[in-house]
Point group: C2
Chain length 491, copies 2
């Protein structure tokens, strides 16, 4: 595969100087069009050490309008980064709509290096690559133009290049022991990289291998590749405008047997038993939460369910057992404009807990396949692919050791009505009831159908759904606290 | 001062239970009004260890609408936080408009503890307190309602409380060696805290000392204090709408002698000398930038000046000497809605460089006293107080060891016209010229007057302005590179 990038391609200084102004003008035009488009662009620079990745980034920063491009060198992770799943740091630097990010040091670096040094098995390596493919396809669909450039040098050329860098006092600092160690393993790197490139070069997000020995050739090829990739997407015929949502419907009256209809909503708990159980469970949660820091684990609790199902009350019973500094309740409402300018899951990655901490999402990323689906806020393609994206997200959390628990509080429509009316009467509960709640209530069946599909497609061992019979608040709270206490105990 | 909080105030369980629903409803109402207002709210919980700060936060989280309040425990700083000036971590958690943040662990913690253990002099302590007053007054003016609660316990009460916490296995973890060490120094803490409270209790942002021995009394007093503070600001008569900007004007023709008019804009550099000098200066910058990481210093370069003054070109000559991973160019444009929902300087704090890194601001916080002043985007009070806020910001940077350099590129109106016309002709420069540039040009005199006031009020030893004669681009670039190289050399 790399043979095609060892042909000795060269570009003369004259040709280079002739080409640059044209290329620059075209890149700026593309950048201007990007700004006006729904797209963003991520340029990934990977490849052999010393092949000119940072020179290429410098060049792009110089040629393009600096207001629309930023570069991020992803070196060793900081402690904030190490406390969260690996992809967190990349989510943090994703380009917003209209802008370009150049990354050197990419999500390929760790998997490849770990494989070369035998720190992960071939199977684990393939799994990382699969996850990368999913991630990049998600970016692609979320309107990010991902351009992957692989800078290649032959073994001989790399050796020469490192020696040259080392001789110049201006660049000497760039050659470390690591680079020579890597050169020793050139063949292994080559084989592993080839495998990675083959597995992750997809139709939507292909790799571009660039012969990097001659700086002029390297610069022109990299810039042209970027230009072509930008133009290809920008010049596509306009996407059809979002279709009317295909609302899940079901004939009234014809109630089939479903996961929800089989729940026994008459379950109740009596006062005395409730207080005892609450005290005992809160004690267990308190002790286990404190152990999280030592175990270097974090916890995510998701609460979903109809309005007035008692999410807030259940959350408070759990948080009462925790130290105010260790948890954070994120109430998910409409996204901000910065959030809207990023892929859908970005706003949830932002709030992931550090190790030892708990994040509770009051409503969550499931909004995409619930409210956004039912109300037609996104296209059917968007919410249909969201199941897989959500599963991949939750898998990453679990793989990192995060405990993920998802609660669905189930109430009957009759109980909801009763609670709505009560809320309108108690002063300190009035803030909880709005016009929108009544509107949502009218779509009860559509929401229920969407919910059933959620359970079917996203209840995994790593992140199970817990359905909670919630017509009786006390019963629901105890069930939630018990599930949390149990989950915290498991290692 | 603390005597008034050692009176043995108590609230009975009955009274407590009678008061809570009323207080809760009133707090929720205030929160609702806050959401619709231009204000945000920061609640600071300080005071004696064991006095119930975290219990109070827990209670507020429970009583109030969780969608509008978040708590942040500011414990030991993470490494990302240690790499930036101390206030960075607090800027990160400031509440956006309409919301409340409860902080325990505040900007008072470090100064007070350092003073008690003799790690800072009385003078340095007072200086910290002055800086805090400035910061809080800025918050106040930027529509943040700052509520400072000091939880007080007598020495005897604190001792009892620590023993009680230690005896209960649910709270034992909260009492560490540190708490007993602090108790040993109770008197010193008391004296230092009293001094701090006295110096920082201002009309706009007063302290509230709360007797914390009885939990019911503590809870009610804290909640009531918060309520009163919220209501006071929310019920103020509406602010007058921003007046028409008082545009700086000057009669044309009557050119006085100013800092700008005395510059010799005919200065020039010739080709050969330019290339030599550039190479030498870039080498110096390259070597010195690399040393930053070892020295644990960061660099901030600010570029201001009229459109087409050559800011971008000068920036590129500097960044060419740097490794793409060590610098970041922030092009300052219109703020996002998240940025608009925070105090003015928030969006610049966001991008402060880590140690070893360089952030270059292409336009900057000076926008407030330049474009926002001239165009009337903010009120005269806003930009008038901005000089002091900016100076305080830059002082903090310098105190942290950040090298701050501010460049003003000066061109004549005639040269600007020539460049505007040239830009319209060169393909890859067209993106740089817009309608707005022509509009700004028409306000040349207003901008110049604003600029003169900027130099007068914000050129400090810590963060000096460098005026650069920029009619000749080569001369300007060399002057900029030289200033950067020199500044990097100084320790």
């Amino acid at each position: 595969m790399f043979e095609t990038a060892e042909l000795g391609a060269k570009v003369s200084k004259e040709e280079y100087e002739k080409e640059v102004p044209k290329l620059r003008a075209a890149l700026l035009k593309a950048q201007e069009d990007l700004r006006a488009s729904p797209y963003s662009c991520a340029v990934l620079l990977s490849g052999v050490e010393g092949a000119g990745k940072s020179e290429t980034v410098n060049l792009l920063l110089e040629w393009m309008d600096p207001r629309g491009i930023r570069a991020h060198a992803m070196r060793e992770p900081t402690d904030e980064e190490r406390h969260r799943p690996e992809m967190w740091r990349f989510w943090n630097v994703l380009p917003p709509t209209g802008r370009t990010t150049a990354l050197f040091g990419t999500w390929y670096t760790h998997p490849i290096v770990d494989r070369v040094f035998g720190r992960c098995s071939p199977a684990a390596f393939d799994q990382s690559l699969d996850r990368i493919v999913e991630f990049e396809e998600m970016l692609h669909r979320e309107h990010t133009i991902v351009v992957k450039l692989w800078m290649h040098l032959s073994k001989k050329a790399q050796k020469q290049r490192l020696h040259a860098l080392e001789k110049d006092k201006l660049t000497r600092f760039r050659v470390g022991k690591r680079d020579w160690r890597y050169l020793d393993r050139y063949d292994k790197f080559r084989a592993v990289s080839e495998h990675a490139i083959r597995k992750t070069s997809t139709g939507a997000v292909p790799w571009h291998i660039i012969e990097a020995e001659d700086p002029h050739h390297r610069a022109l090829t990299a810039a042209r590749t970027l230009l072509v990739a930008l133009r290809a997407r920008l010049d596509e015929p306009k996407e059809a405008s979002p279709q009317k949502a295909d609302q899940p419907t079901r004939r009234r009256g014809a109630r089939q047997k479903t996961l929800l209809s089989t729940l026994d909503l008459t379950r109740k708990l009596y006062d005395k038993s409730y207080e005892e159980k609450t005290a005992r469970l809160q004690e267990r949660i308190a002790l286990r939460t404190r152990a999280l820091a030592v175990e270097k684990r974090s916890v995510i609790l998701v609460f979903e369910g109809p309005d007035a199902a008692g999410k807030g009350g259940a959350i408070r019973r759990v948080t009462r057992a925790m130290d105010a500094g260790t948890y954070d309740v994120i109430s998910v409402a409409a996204p901000t404009d910065e959030e809207r300018a990023h892929p859908y899951l970005w706003r949830f990655w932002r709030h992931l807990p550090r190790q030892g901490h708990v994040t509770i999402y009051d409503r969550s990323w499931y909004g995409r396949v619930l409210v956004e689906r039912v109300e037609g806020f996104c296209t059917p393609e968007d919410w249909k692919r969201a199941y897989a994206e959500i599963n991949s997200f939750e898998e990453q959390l679990a793989a990192f050791g995060t405990i993920v628990l998802k609660f669905w509080l189930v109430i009957s429509p009759e109980e909801q009505l009763r609670r709505f009316k009560a809320r309108e009467e108690i002063a300190y509960k009035q803030y909880k009831i709005t016009e929108e709640d009544w509107r949502n209530r009218a779509k009860w069946d559509a929401y229920e159908t969407a919910a059933l599909e959620v359970f079917e497609k996203t209840s995994t061992t790593a992140a199970p759904w817990v359905l909670v019979e919630a017509n009786d608040k006390r019963y629901a709270r105890v069930k939630v606290m018990k599930a949390v206490a149990d989950a915290l105990k498991r290692k």
